[in-house]
């Protein structure tokens, strides 16, 4: 085990999540992709703490913030999906492209 191995795992999780976030039609599946990307960040933050600066608590605090952000993202995302569905009966990203350039 090394820092590189952990970071490669994090990069793989991030890339799989990115694929999902870009390719899924359903807004809720898109959020699963975002969660998977943050999952990669969790692993990377833990690995940095352990292999670079275990003496300081900064890596652990970053982990705590990433976990909080993940939960908040999910709550706010579902609230937006619910509001969108209530207003327009829309649950796919293609139907909600009003601001598309």
């Amino acid at each position: 085990m090394s820092l590189q191995a952990f970071l490669l795992l994090a990069a793989a999780l991030f890339a799989v999540g990115l694929y999902g976030a870009l390719s899924q039609q359903s807004v809720v599946m898109l959020m699963m992709g975002l969660e998977l990307m943050i999952n990669g960040i969790l692993v990377a933050a833990g690995a940095f703490w352990h292999y670079v600066a275990p003496g300081a608590a900064d890596g652990q605090v970053l982990l705590l913030v990433a976990l909080t952000v993940m939960a908040l993202e999910m709550a706010a995302g579902f609230a937006v999906v619910t509001a969108l569905y209530r207003a327009r009966e829309v649950d796919t990203t293609d139907d909600a492209g009003d601001l598309k350039g």
């Binding site: 085990m1 820092l3 590189q4 191995a5 952990f6 970071l7 490669l8 795992l9 990069a11 793989a12 999780l13 890339a15 799989v16 990115l18 694929y19 999902g20 870009l22 390719s23 899924q24 359903s26 809720v28 599946m29 699963m32 992709g33 969660e35 998977l36 999952n39 969790l42 833990g46 690995a47 703490w49 352990h50 292999y51 670079v52 600066a53 275990p54 003496g55 608590a57 900064d58 652990q60 605090v61 982990l63 705590l64 913030v65 976990l67 909080t68 939960a71 908040l72 999910m74 709550a75 706010a76 579902f78 609230a79 937006v80 999906v81 619910t82 509001a83 569905y85 649950d91 990203t93």
Partner: protein, 168 residues
């Protein structure tokens, strides 16, 4: 032993992550994501991070169970009765994801990472608690306010009635 556990968990985490977008039911996708998170939590435990690891595992079990309810609410393909494609721009997304992974992997392999400084504290959870109650307290305060703001915002967004009740 630890190396075997690391690779087993790593392969499982990425495999379940890929399964999220490969299975044809959104309920199954939720549980695949849960499995991926459990493997990531296991990796944190391997790093000696007992508290964040257990926190990830417990929090994600709760979060994915809540998510499963939403997934069933917004399922595009209820019960697999109506097989349909749930993706768009698949080839472009695959290319971008593969490119990002290649770029990140190149950076990971080629960067001269700094050497380890200091040793892990005897009790990392204790050190984390001391940090968030001491020099890192602003982080926790901002997180607390952000949680409160999200609670209010999500309730306001999700309710059918607006600020002035049902009179619209």
């Amino acid at each position: 032993m630890q190396v075997v556990a690391f690779w087993a968990l790593a392969v499982a985490a990425v495999g379940f992550g890929a399964a999220v977008f490969a299975v044809n039911s959104m309920a199954r996708a939720t549980f695949a994501l849960l499995a991926s998170f459990l493997c990531a939590g296991g990796e944190l435990l391997l790093l000696g991070l007992a508290y964040p690891g257990v926190l990830t595992i417990l929090m994600m079990i709760m979060e994915m169970l809540v998510m499963a309810v939403f997934m069933i609410m917004y399922m595009m393909d209820p019960g697999g009765l109506m097989p349909m494609s749930m993706v768009h721009g698949r080839r472009g997304a695959l290319a971008i994801a593969a490119g990002v992974f290649a770029a990140l992997a190149a950076g990971i392999v080629l960067t001269p990472w700094p050497h380890r400084q200091g040793a892990p504290p005897r009790d990392p959870a204790f050190a984390l608690g001391e940090a968030v109650m001491g020099p890192k307290m602003p982080v926790m305060m901002v997180a607390g306010v952000a949680i409160l703001a999200t609670m209010i915002a999500s309730v306001v967004l999700a309710t059918g009635r607006g600020r002035y009740g049902g009179a619209e």
